[in-house]
């Protein structure tokens, strides 16, 4: 079985973090990330920061029946995070970054299209020597993504384990942030959301229908005030109720910087293209999500 109810708001070439407090929220995002990597024919490296690697594999396998096969072929590798980050007992950002570069080269040589990397950042990592270099490490990832095309990197921060300063820094160093206030959107239907910097832009991916529109409207109402900038290129389905949920408060301006065909069609049918409060990308730039 492949769990088709998970959407992913992270694209190839992006450095993303999730800071969800709830383990099941993080797991959903991680499973969607793994599935996306398998769909793309990427090599996937999963750094597991929990005691039981077997349990993680079983949980990923429950969401996607291809996981066992991918482990067997080497398309998916799961390593204990602590060992990977602290090969010599210390967290050395440069050494880890060099290992990622090497991993990318190897993945390409093995015939994979690119590399999907995700790491759980939780309990034990907080105490390892050298972890104060984490900020520099995250910065280095940005260079890696620029140099190695198509790599996607998802850092899973356990909201409960890190000091708020570290989390704020994490949010600042990751251009794509599946931030905690967006978690309710990920729990309904097949929909996912992320904040994208700079902007900030709200990105929605998946299917925005009348079943989930109230949830989206509630999140927007609670956390997004004033003008709203939206990236809707990955919204493969949207209906009238879904579009209306984006409208939020009366008079709020919408700037849609990217739109899928589904969104473009709905904008046209609803006559939003002649609404001065809504800014759209030029016609014909729609993306087939």
């Amino acid at each position: 079985m492949i769990d088709s109810d998970f959407a992913l708001a992270v694209r190839p070439g992006e450095h993303a973090c999730t800071r969800a407090a709830d383990a099941s929220d993080r797991e959903r995002i991680a499973a969607a990330f793994v599935r996306d990597g398998l769909d793309r024919g990427n090599k996937i490296v999963y750094l597991c920061d929990r005691g039981d690697v077997e349990e993680l594999v079983a949980r990923l396998g429950a969401h996607d029946c291809r996981v066992q096969q991918a482990l067997a072929t080497g398309q998916l590798e799961v390593h204990p995070a602590h060992d990977f980050y602290c090969r010599d007992g210390v967290f050395d950002p440069d050494a880890v970054l060099a290992r990622w570069h090497e991993g990318y080269r190897r993945a390409r040589a093995e015939g994979y299209r690119a590399l999907s990397l995700t790491g759980e950042m939780s309990s034990a990592l907080c105490e390892i020597p050298g972890i104060d270099g984490l900020g520099r490490y995250e910065q280095g990832i940005a260079d890696l993504l620029r140099d190695d095309g198509g790599v996607a990197f998802l850092c899973q921060y356990d909201h409960g384990r890190f000091a708020s300063g570290v989390l704020a820094e994490a949010a600042a160093t990751h251009p794509v942030d599946v931030s905690p206030e967006l978690a309710p959107i990920g729990r309904v239907g097949c929909l996912s959301a992320a904040r994208v910097h700079p902007g900030p832009t709200l990105r929605l991916a998946g299917e925005l229908d009348f079943d989930v529109s109230d949830t989206v409207a509630a999140v927007l109402d609670a956390h997004y005030h004033g003008d709203l900038q939206l990236d809707l290129a990955d919204l493969r389905f949207v209906d009238v109720a879904g579009m209306r949920a984006l409208r939020g408060r009366k008079g709020q301006r919408l700037r849609i910087i990217a739109a899928s065909h589904a969104v473009e069609t709905m904008v046209r049918l609803l006559a939003w293209d002649s609404d001065p409060a809504i800014e759209m990308p030029p016609a014909g730039t729609a993306v087939a999500a």
Binding site: S4, D5, G189, C190, E207, D209, F210, D211, F237, D239, V240, A241, K250, H261, A262, T265, M266, R268, L269, L270, A271, W272, S274, D275, A277
Partner: protein, 305 residues
């Protein structure tokens, strides 16, 4: 410039009457600075150009057979055209249009309904619509239908139209069709999970080899009808779909108290309208959308692609 919409009927049976009445309507619009478009047959475009002379450069000429393809599309096109003119600063708009030839009676009926719908669809816009009916070319029943759908007459007989009827009644009468039972349709899940419903419908569309663009339209249209069934109709009582001849049908019946608004889904949505755009979207994305009484008193929507 006009304060509100007008919708006039001009019935004629010789070209000199056309030349006497139509070019002045168009020329007056140009004079007043209105945006002016004519949607006519080739012969009447020619008559119009000859009569207007140099003024015709300031008029948009459109072939009626390319504009009037189906009523739903014509409504959307006019709506977009009118909004475009207004956005570009027009203070008044004049349209002079005539229907092309259609083959089947049910097509003609739909255009009579369309004429009635126009009265509601563009109410409030600074828009003057002049509808041209050539009695020599058009079926008698169509001209008779048009006489119930226009509030005002132009021509040798001029003034309020005594035959004008309530647009809802005109549409209801024009769109009355026998209801086929369609036993060949197969049941889908009840749609209480919209995501799962779309998954099932996607599979059925793929199995029936419905082309991608049509399938996407059907998926969205059916979702809108499903949303209405759950938001206004107490949920579904029966959801079915399948091929009927060379077409694909999805039928969604709800548990509500029925619904009788023959104009539902025919009025272009306004940006801040609270409701009603779902059926508009569904009608735009399907070939036909029939609203029928469901066997147990609710409403059944049949979507055809």
């Amino acid at each position: 410039m006009t304060a509100a919409m007008t919708h006039d009927l001009f019935v004629y049976d010789d070209d000199s009457a056309f030349e006497r009445h139509m070019p002045p309507f168009v020329a007056e619009g140009v004079d007043e600075g209105d945006a002016v478009a004519v949607v006519l047959t080739a012969a009447n475009r020619e008559l119009m150009r000859d009569a207007l002379g140099a003024v015709s450069d300031r008029v948009t000429f459109i072939a009626c057979e390319s504009h009037y393809t189906r009523p739903e599309a014509a409504l959307a096109d006019y709506d977009a055209t009118v909004r475009g003119y207004l956005r570009n600063g027009a203070t008044g708009i004049r349209l002079c249009g005539e229907l092309p030839d259609f083959e089947r009676d049910d097509e003609w009926d739909r255009w009579v309904a369309y004429e009635a719908i126009l009265n509601r669809a563009f109410a409030g816009y600074p828009l003057q619509i002049m509808c041209v009916y050539d009695e020599r070319r058009l079926p008698e029943s169509v001209v008779a239908g048009a006489r119930t759908a226009h509030p005002h007459l132009v021509g040798d007989v001029h003034g309020p139209n005594p035959e004008f009827g309530d647009p809802a009644d005109v549409v209801r009468a024009a769109m009355r069709r026998p209801v086929e039972p369609l036993p060949e349709l197969t049941a889908l899940p009840d749609g209480s999970d919209a995501l799962a419903f779309r998954g099932e419908l996607r599979r059925a569309l793929a199995e029936a080899r419905v082309p991608d663009a049509d399938a996407r339209g059907m998926l969205t249209a059916a979702d809108e009808v499903l949303a209405n069934a759950y938001r206004h109709g107490g949920g579904t009582s029966l959801v079915r779909c399948g091929r009927v001849g060379d077409r694909f049908v999805c039928e969604i019946a709800d548990r509500g108290g029925g619904y009788d608004d023959p104009l539902a889904g025919y009025l272009p949505p306004r940006p801040h309208a609270a409701d009603g755009a779902g059926l508009w979207v569904a009608r735009q994305l399907t070939r036909d959308l029939d609203l029928l009484p469901a066997p147990d008193g609710g409403l059944a929507a049949r979507l055809w692609i």
